[in-house]
Symmetry: C2
Subunit: 449 residues, 2 copies
């Protein structure tokens, strides 16, 4: 039964582009959205469900009559259908997948088998392929015939008719320029087709598509037989999703898998509490380090005044270096074996930056003392020197640690982007305290200490 | 004169794809690269120079004979030529641009006039447009004729023959499916063409291309006349460049405009020292705050032991919240006016996270005291309470400040992504100290203080 309300809702949607319709549907509950979609013309419902931006598509499909849900899943692109089915409750997924025709069902099941974030998980099986025995004219006729059911026809894949191996790729652009009676292989452009395996990471797929300016990248098995293609628009989505993950990780939390406002309160706590506790436990070492120096602290309380200032400077220079190296490694500008080149750059950079801050720090202590704003005692000159020298040491150390951390993670086969700003700050804080108190012992032994 | 060495170098390049050739050329000096390019067949030199990944293309072009440089600039895509000319010394640019034919010269000069990071600066003027009076067959003939000189032919723009306004867009896909005698407008798909103005930011262009799954987006002037198109591969480049900028900014430095290893030593210092000094000067407030509490510090040195631990926790929770909100605002998941919704979520989230850390903190003090690892004195229970309560306050405050900072920047018309982790940490540090000492005064008045 379609109520008046749903009919009114769907009438309002009917005029909108799929992207705009998705924005409307994202504002209402899943069961309302399901009713609205059901009341739309079938083709329009398909094009809306096809948008990856439609939040909670799984819940919407679950709330629909099963027959309609099955028909819709069959009609959307296979890679999108696999995304939706992957988000369903297992029992609902098992029931709905039986409603989908055998061809679509088998490709959805194939796609679901690849781990998230791989080429296999974002590819589509709806591409155009012809045997190498075809002429240009025959290929164009074939493209016209199958166009409706393919996600893209801008790249046509030429296969060996014997073993099904991918031989070449011909762009639609070249196809329409070609002589109809010429063999299709005469239009092949590149010396060799660029391909990836199904388990290649999506960011590497993005890099290849960008590097070779492709509209689609074929995914092949070990025997060079085609499994599917990743299209350029899927890659943009993947790049943006990767970017969100990286910023979340750099901010020091587990990447959220859904928008801020849609994650549950306890889901949010889970994503943040884990790293926060790890950082807190590591930072506890600062309390231990300070306990070790508690005799010195009691003698020279004035030293404590500069602890936050000096420690944060080490963390800041470390965070700068980490952000630089995370991106350079992600863009393959720098390789793992170049770590020593980077260390040789960061060392003098850190020293210069440390000297700049050190001079400001000394000027600050001197100015406050001279202007009578605060009395650091008779040894204020030595205190200023301690602060300045510590800043040089800690900023240099921060730059080195911050730049080497992404390399260390990469060599341990972790994602270099897991190096977060808070993590670097924590690493630098503990050693920063030790540097500060050691330098204080050198300069203040016999006077304050 | 082409030496044997250059001939050998270019022979080695001749077999490679443009992307691979670029990688080789990026490893050698600009004048060597210029000689190698000059020794290659012209078409191959063009396709290599066309790659945006070729570093220092401006220096390579400068090192070439002027006649050849002019021919190459004329042959590469106009948007790429504008990029290269934009990187030349002004006098070299003025001389070379005179070597380029009038049509290309005028579009290069137009493109150069748009500010970096806008749709105008990344668009190409090499698109296909036909008047709305054309039939499908006439359009296809025209496309075949001009194909060689256009960056993309996958979108064909239909213009009003009277005033030149953009009326519709027809995809090549639909064009080859159409009846040759039908009018071209019969193939138009969308209710309205999606367009942008030339000054729209590249990330908004990326968002539109992604939202509407386009292969190219037309750029129009105020009178809806076409200026150019932004293609999907330019958008991927723009998204990745934006991502690098955002990570650099979040790390607390000015975004580098070239790869880590290619920036000069003093260029690097400049990009990092500015923010480092701003952060250092702001963090000096911590020293001032501690000076205010110096009497309390002298009475209860034990309080200083926990300063780094407590302060860093505020910075960490702030950094988490900032990274979440930067992305949500960038992806338009959340709008400026939703700030209070976010504040209402961050408040309880911060309290729960603070309680978790507070409990761990109290357990730490208690354990060390009980196990005899450190003696916090007779009032250790009150000290533990102070640490626990401060953590709740500071983590909550950090989450709030960290989440509101991107909104504040956006409402001041700054990029929300300028909110860096070190900046948030600095903001939270100063107020964190005040919170800590105020709570200490409440709990320890009459005993330690």
């Amino acid at each position: 039964m379609i109520s008046d309300l749903d009919a009114a809702g769907s009438a309002a949607l009917r005029e909108l582009s799929p992207a705009d319709a998705v924005e409307r549907l994202n504002l209402i509950a899943a069961d309302e959205a399901a009713k609205t979609l059901a009341a739309l013309p079938f083709a329009q419902a398909v094009s809306i469900l096809d948008q990856p931006e439609l939040a909670d598509a799984a819940a919407i499909v679950t709330a629909m009559p099963e027959a309609l849900a099955g028909r819709l899943l069959e009609a959307v692109a296979d890679d999108r259908a696999a995304d939706i089915v992957g988000g369903l409750e297992p029992d609902v997924a098992a029931r709905l997948i039986q409603r989908v025709g055998a061809a679509s069902r088998s490709s959805i099941e194939t796609l679901l088998a690849y781990p998230a974030g791989t080429a296999g998980s974002i590819m589509t099986t709806e591409y155009v392929a012809v045997p190498s025995t075809f002429t240009v004219g025959a290929t164009l006729d074939y493209v016209r015939r199958v166009e409706k059911s393919r996600e893209t026809i801008y790249a046509i894949y030429v296969l060996d008719p014997g073993n099904g191996q991918l031989l070449q790729v011909v762009t639609l652009r070249r196809l329409i320029m070609g002589d109809p009676s010429a063999p299709i292989l005469s239009l092949a452009a590149a010396p060799a087709v660029v391909t990836v395996g199904p388990l290649v990471a999506r960011e590497d797929v993005a890099r290849l598509i960008r590097r070779h300016d492709l509209l689609a990248l074929p995914v092949v098995d070990d025997a060079q037989r085609m499994l599917g293609i990743v299209t350029v628009d899927d890659v943009i989505d993947a790049v943006i999703a990767e970017q969100t993950e990286d910023v979340h990780k750099f901010g020091g939390l587990e990447a959220l898998d859904r928008p801020y406002m849609q994650i549950s309160f306890f889901g949010m706590i889970r994503k943040r509490a884990g790293w926060l506790c790890v950082l807190f436990l590591s930072e506890m070492l600062t309390a231990s380090a300070m306990q070790t120096f508690s005799d010195e602290l009691a003698k020279a309380v004035v030293l404590t005044l500069f602890i936050p200032l000096i420690m944060s400077s080490g963390g800041n220079s470390g965070s700068q270096a980490t952000s630089l190296l995370i991106r350079s490694l992600a863009l393959n500008e720098i390789r793992l074996r170049d770590w020593w080149r980077v260390a040789l750059r960061e060392l003098p950079t850190g020293v210069v930056l440390g000297v700049i801050l050190g001079v400001i720090g000394i000027a600050r202590v001197t100015a406050w003392q001279m202007l009578g704003l605060f009395d650091y005692g008779p040894h204020w000159g030595l205190i200023a020197t301690t602060v300045g020298a510590s800043l040089v040491g800690i900023v240099t150390f921060g730059s080195l640690v911050g730049s080497m951390l992404p390399f260390a993670l990469k060599s341990l086969r972790f994602d270099p982007a897991s190096a977060s700003a808070p993590f670097v700050a924590t690493l630098v804080d503990v050693s920063g305290l030790v540097i500060y108190f050691s330098i204080a012992l050198i300069f203040l032994k016999g006077t304050l200490l």
